[in-house]
C-alpha cells in the first residue's frame, strides 16, 4: 500500500490548528533560528513537525532541553524551540549527555535529535545503553542512510545494494535501529518518514506523552548526497515504498474523546499522562504492544526490504530512569545548597568510624 492511498489518521479529526495552544502560545513561540541546511533537506520537514507537535501538545518551552550530537541532523536543534535550552554536543555521545541532563533535571522533557551516523555508527553503544536506562527523552534519528555533513559517505543504516552518489555499492546489511531498541527494552519505538508530516505529528505528540525514552526513526532524505536513483533513502524511493502499519492517531490528555472506537478496527493505548494513542487498522492485524510481533514485523520488513512506518512497539509501563533512581519532585539541579551538605555531626560520626 502506498502512502498516498492512506486516509488521514482517524482521531482526532483533522481540524485547522488554532492560532494559540492551551498555554496561549502561538506557533512562533516554538520556532527557532533559520535553518542553514540545504533547501529540500528532509531534516527541515522534521523540524517543522517538531514545532507543530510541541505547539499542539502545549509543551512549555522552558521545560524542554534540546540535545544533539554532530551532523546536519544534529544542527536542527537550533532551528526549533528557541526558548528552550539547547545543547549541540559531540559526535555520537548525545545519548549519554541526555542521560546526564535527565539525571540533573528529570522534570524536563529532553528532545534528542541525532543522525544515522551519530546513532548507529559512533554512538551505537551509548544509544543502546541509554535505551536500557530509559531516561525521559524523545529520541529522533533523522535517518538518511549517509553522513550528510561530511558529504555523503554510507552510514550503517544504508541498505544493502544501495548506491552512493559516486556509484559505489553498499555491501552490508543495514542496522535496524528500531529492532535494536526493542531488543534493549525500549518502551516506545516508531518508524516514520519526513515526508509524512501527519503521521510524524501524531507520533511526536505520543512520544512527548510517553514516560521514558521514545524512539522515532525517521527516514529523512539527504537531497544533496543521497537522493539519486539507486538510493533507498531518496524521496522518490521513500514515497513509492512507504507502507503504513496502521494509522496513528493521538488524543492528548487535555482533549475529551467523545466517540467510541470499534475495537475490531481500532486499538487504543493509554499513556501515563492519560493521553491516548489511537491505532486504526489498515491491511494488517498488528498489535504494537506485543514485543514478539514487533520484532517479527521488523525482521520481515528487513528481509523483504519493506519500508513500514507507524508505531512499531509500545509499552507505556516501563519504569523511567528517574523512577529507578527514586528521584523526588525537585530536580537535583535546583535543590537548595543546604540540602546538599550533610551536617557537621554527620562528619563527626563518620570520623569516629575511622579512629
Amino acid at each position: 500500500m502506498s502512502h498516498e492511498a492512506a486516509a488521514p489518521p482517524a482521531a482526532p479529526k483533522p481540524t485547522k490548528a488554532p492560532a494559540l495552544n492551551r498555554l496561549s502560545l502561538d506557533l512562533k513561540a516554538y520556532k527557532g533560528a533559520n535553518s542553514t541546511l540545504c533547501s529540500g533537506c528532509g531534516h527541515d520537514s522534521i523540524t517543522n513537525a517538531i514545532i507543530k507537535s510541541f505547539f499542539e501538545y502545549g509543551v512549555e518551552p522552558h521545560r524542554v532541553a534540546k540535545l544533539s550530537g554532530i551532523g546536519c541532523s544534529s544542527k536542527t536543534t537550533a532551528y526549533f524551540l528557541s526558548r528552550s535550552h539547547g545543547f549541540n554536543s559531540v559526535h555520537g555521545r548525545m545519548a549519554a549527555v541526555a542521560t546526564g541532563s535527565n539525571m540533573a533535571n528529570h522534570t524536563l522533557l529532553n528532545i534528542g535529535v541525532s543522525g544515522d551516523g551519530d546513532t548507529a555508527s559512533i554512538g551505537l553503544g551509548h544509544f543502546l545503553h541509554m535505551v536500557r536506562r530509559n531516561p525521559q527523552l524523545v529520541y529522533l534519528v533523522e535517518n538518511n542512510g549517509c553522513y550528510g555533513l561530511t558529504k555523503g559517505q554510507f552510514s550503517a543504516t544504508a541498505d544493502k545494494g544501495s548506491l552512493q552518489k559516486g556509484g559505489a555499492v553498499n555491501r552490508m546489511d543495514p542496522i535496524d535501529i528500531c529492532a535494536l531498541a526493542i531488543e534493549m527494552g525500549c518502551g516506545f519505538v516508531a518508524r516514520s518518514f519526513s515526508g509524512d508530516a501527519k503521521q510524524l505529528n501524531q507520533l511526536l505528540k505520543a512520544a512527548i506523552a510517553h514516560k521514558g525514552t521514545a524512539l522515532i526513526d525517521v527516514v529523512s532524505p539527504c537531497v544533496t548526497f543521497n537522493n539519486h536513483e539507486g538510493s533507498t533513502k531518496s524521496y522518490p524511493y521513500a514515497r513509492a515504498h512507504e507502507e503504513l502499519i496502521h494509522e496513528v492517531g493521538f488524543v492528548p490528555f487535555f482533549e475529551e474523546i467523545s466517540v467510541d472506537y470499534d475495537a475490531g478496527t481500532t486499538q487504543v493505548v493509554e499513556l501515563h499522562d492519560h493521553s491516548k494513542v489511537v491505532l486504526k487498522k489498515l491491511e494488517r492485524d498488528y498489535d504494537p504492544t506485543n514485543r514478539r510481533q514487533a520484532l517479527e514485523l521488523l525482521s520481515h520488513a528487513q528481509e523483504n526490504q519493506l519500508f513500514l512506518t507507524g508505531l512499531v512497539y509500545l509499552d507505556p509501563s516501563m519504569p523511567s530512569m528517574a523512577e529507578q533512581l527514586d528521584l523526588g519532585s525537585e530536580p537535583l539541579a535546583t535543590l537548595p545548597a543546604e540540602k546538599l551538605r550533610p551536617s557537621p555531626t554527620a562528619l563527626a560520626e563518620i570520623m569516629e568510624t575511622f579512629k
Binding site: A78, F87, R93, G100, L327, I350
Partner: protein, 616 residues
C-alpha cells in the same frame, strides 16, 4: 618489589634497639586473606600511640600473585616508603628469593618453615616459624587455616617488637566487630603465634616499639575514601562512573555515604543520582550533560579513562560546563601497571583534548586535602565553569594514612555565576559568553529557567558572546582570549602552595617543588639533607595553573629541584614553559619505578646533582 640492592642498614649502628622506628614488610600472595592480618598489625601499633603508615603493593590480578604489605612505625612521623626493610615476614615461595636478597645486613627474617631452604644468608637474623604446625593445632579446615595462618605472624611480630597483645586484641575486635566467631579464631591464632615466639625466639635486638601518644584522636583512612567524603560533603549531585583500578573505590565509597547521608530530610528522597556507565566516554558525557543541566557532577577514573574522555573534556572547556574528574593516577602509558604508583597524567590532564586548552588541576598532598579539595573542586568547577581535575595517585588513594579528623567545611557551597529567573529579571539582559566582570567568567542560566531571556544554545563550535553560531575570526579569537583570561582568574582561585623554609624567615640556596604523594618522601629527604648540612626550602604545589608564589619561589632560589613521579618531567616542562627566565634553574628528580616515593631516592638524586655542580 624494590629497586635497591642491599646496603648496610642504619639499624646496625646502635647497640641498643631503636625505639619506634621500624619498617616491616609482609610478603604473601594476594587473595589469601593476609590483608586483615596486616591491618591488625598496623592498627595494633597505632593503638600504642605510635605514628604508623602502611603501603600495600599488590599485583594486577585477583588471587595468587606476590603481594607485599609494609608497615612503617616512625616516632618522627615519617610516612613515606622506606627502601630498606628491618623485618620481613616471608610467606610466599614465588617471591622469597628476591625478598631475602634485598634485605639489608642485620635485618630480621621471619620465614615460613616450608621456605627454610632459601635462608642462605648469614648476615640476617632468621626466625623459621612452623606456621603450618601452629595453625593445624587451631583449625582443621584448609580454607580457614589459610586465612588464619596470617594472624600467627602478627603474634610473632608482636613478640619480637614488644607490641602489647592487648592492643592486638583491640585491633582484632575492631576488625571483626560484626563477627564474634571470626574475632575469636583470629585472636587465638595471634596468641598462638605470640606464645610460640615467646617460647622460642628472643625479642629483637635492633628494634622495639614503645607506647607513646602521638595518635590520640587520629583517624586512619585511604585517600580514595577521603575523596569520596569530599564529594559527598561538597554537595555533588550527579556521579557517572566506570570501574577502573585504582579509582573504583572513590565511586564505591561515595555511593555508600550518599545512600546514608544524602537523603532529603523532608522527602526522604536522594539528593543525588549515580549511574555506572558503559564506559568512560559515557561517564564523562553524563557528567557534561548533568553539569550543563545544572548538577554538580563528577566522575572518578584513572589514566585509560582520562585518555577516553579527551573529546568531551574539550567540549566542556569550550562550552564552559562545570565538571569534576577525579584521576587516581596509575602507571602508564597504556594499561601499564594498574596497581602501581605514578604521577604520569599531569601533562595529559593539564592539556587534555585537541586544539588549544588548559585545565586546572588540584593536587592534594595528604588525605585531609583529598577531602577538602574534592569538596572544593565542585565549587571551583561551577565558579570557573570548566573541568577541574583532582589528581590523586595509587599511593595516596589506596594506602592507609593517619590524619587528624577532617573539619567540617566552613565555606558555604558556591554555585558560581548562575542567573535564576529573578536575577535575570533584575539585570534584564543575558549573553552567555560575555565577560561582564572582566574576569573572563561569563554568567549562565540553568535549563528550566522560565525567564524568556534564559534559554541559550550551547555548542562546541565557534560562537558569539550571545551564544549564536559564528565562524568569524574576531569572534573566535575574542572568545579564546577570554578563556585565557578565565584561566588567569583560575590562578588566583586555586589553593595556594605550602611554603616551608629550611630556616624560617630565610631563603636557602636550594629549593624543592613537589606535590601529591611525594610529600612525605620529600619532607623526610629534607631532614636527611639537613642532617648532611644541606638546607632546602620546600614549596608544595597544590594546584595548577601556578600563580605568583611559585614564580617568586623559583626566582628566589639558585636551583629548584622538581620532584615528580614520572619519566617525562611533566611538571617541570610546564614550569619551564611558563617561566622561561628561570628554566635553567629547574632540575628534575624523577621517580618512575612504580613504587611509592621514598626519601632516599630523592636525597641521593639531589646529592648527586649538587655534587656534579661541585656544590655538595
Amino acid at each position: 618489589m624494590s629497586e635497591a640492592s642491599p646496603t648496610s642498614s642504619e639499624s646496625q649502628s646502635a647497640n641498643r634497639p631503636r625505639v619506634n622506628d621500624v619498617t616491616i614488610s609482609v610478603a604473601t600472595s594476594n587473595g589469601t586473606g593476609s590483608q586483615s592480618a596486616n591491618l591488625i598489625l598496623m592498627r595494633s601499633i597505632f593503638n600504642m600511640g605510635i605514628p604508623v603508615g602502611a603501603k600495600n603493593m599488590f599485583p594486577s590480578n585477583i588471587q595468587g600473585l606476590p603481594t607485599w604489605f609494609t608497615v612503617r612505625a616512625s616516632a618522627a612521623g615519617w610516612s613515606g616508603r622506606r627502601r630498606l626493610i628491618d623485618l620481613c615476614v616471608a610467606m610466599n615461595e614465588e617471591s622469597v628469593v628476591d625478598d631475602i636478597a634485598q634485605l639489608p645486613p642485620g635485618a630480621t627474617l621471619v620465614l615460613h618453615k616450608s621456605l627454610e631452604k632459601y635462608a642462605q644468608r648469614t648476615d640476617l637474623v632468621v626466625h623459621v616459624v612452623p606456621f603450618d604446625d601452629l595453625v593445624s593445632g587451631l583449625v582443621k579446615e584448609p580454607k580457614l587455616s589459610k586465612l588464619v595462618v596470617n594472624m600467627i605472624y602478627v603474634g610473632v611480630v608482636a613478640h619480637l617488637f614488644a607490641i602489647d597483645m592487648k592492643e592486638v586484641e583491640r585491633a582484632i575486635q575492631r576488625q571483626f566487630s560484626k563477627k564474634a566467631s571470626a574475632a575469636k579464631i583470629n585472636l587465638d591464632a595471634a596468641t598462638v603465634g605470640h606464645v610460640w615466639a615467646e617460647a622460642n625466639l628472643p625479642q629483637s635486638a635492633t628494634h622495639r616499639l614503645e607506647r607513646m601518644s602521638a595518635t590520640d584522636g587520629k583517624i586512619i583512612i585511604e585517600g580514595n575514601q577521603a575523596t569520596a567524603l569530599g564529594l559527598v560533603f561538597g554537595g555533588m549531585t550527579v556521579l557517572g562512573w566506570y570501574p577502573i583500578t585504582p579509582s573504583s573505590s572513590v565511586a564505591e565509597v561515595t555511593i555508600d555515604y550518599l545512600s546514608k547521608y544524602r537523603k532529603d530530610p523532608e522527602t526522604g528522597k536522594p539528593t543525588y543520582a549515580v549511574i555506572q556507565a558503559e564506559d568512560e566516554l559515557a561517564s564523562m558525557a553524563i557528567v557534561v550533560g548533568a553539569g550543563w543541566a545544572g548538577a554538580r557532577a563528577a566522575t572518578a577514573t584513572s589514566g585509560p579513562g582520562i585518555s577516553l574522555m579527551g573529546e568531551l573534556v574539550g567540549l566542556a572547556y569550550f562550552a564552559e560546563i562545570p565538571a569534576v574528574i577525579v584521576d587516581v593516577q596509575r602507571m602508564g602509558p597504556s594499561t601499564g601497571l594498574p596497581t602501581r604508583v605514578s604521577q604520569g597524567d599531569i601533562f595529559s590532564a593539564y592539556h587534555l583534548s585537541h586544539g588549544d586548552g588548559k585545565h586546572p588541576l588540584l593536587l592534594p598532598g595528604n588525605v585531609r586535602e583529598c577531602f577538602e579539595f574534592a569538596a572544593e573542586s565542585l565549587d571551583l568547577a561551577e565558579r570557573l565553569q570548566t573541568v577541574i581535575f583532582v589528581m590523586l595517585d595509587l599511593d595516596l588513594g589506596m594506602n592507609l594514612w593517619s590524619s587528624d579528623p577532617f573539619e567540617p567545611i566552613a565555606k558555604p557551597i558556591d554555585r558560581g555565576k548562575v542567573l535564576d529567573e529573578a536575577q535575570l529579571a533584575k539585570v534584564g539582559s543575558f549573553a552567555r559568553y560575555k565577560d561582564v566582570d572582566g574576569d573572563g567568567i561569563p554568567y549562565r542560566t540553568i535549563p528550566g529557567n522560565p525567564h524568556p531571556l534564559a534559554a541559550y544554545f550551547t555548542r562546541g563550535t565557534g560562537h558569539t558572546e550571545a551564544a549564536t553560531y559564528s565562524e568569524k575570526a574576531q569572534d573566535w579569537k575574542g572568545n579564546l582570549d577570554r578563556l585565557t583570561r578565565k584561566f588567569d582568574t583560575a590562578r588566583t582561585l586555586m589553593p595556594r602552595p605550602v611554603l616551608k623554609a629550611a630556616t624560617p624567615g630565610q631563603v636557602a640556596e636550594i629549593g624543592v617543588i613537589a606535590f601529591g604523594s611525594s610529600d612525605p618522601a620529600v619532607e623526610e629527604s629534607r631532614a636527611e639533607l639537613a642532617s648532611q648540612g644541606m638546607a632546602i626550602d620546600y614549596l608544595r604545589l597544590r594546584a595548577l595553573p601556578i600563580d605568583r608564589e611559585v614564580r617568586e619561589f623559583i626566582e628566589a632560589h639558585r636551583v629548584v629541584y622538581v620532584v615528580e613521579q614520572n619519566r617525562d618531567a611533566q611538571l617541570a616542562s610546564i614550569l619551564k614553559a611558563e617561566l622561561p627566565e628561570r628554566a635553567t634553574a629547574l632540575r628534575s628528580v624523577l621517580l618512575y619505578s612504580g613504587l611509592p616515593a621514598d626519601a632516599q631516592s630523592v636525597t641521593e638524586d639531589i646529592v648527586r646533582q649538587e655534587s656534579k655542580e661541585g656544590r655538595a
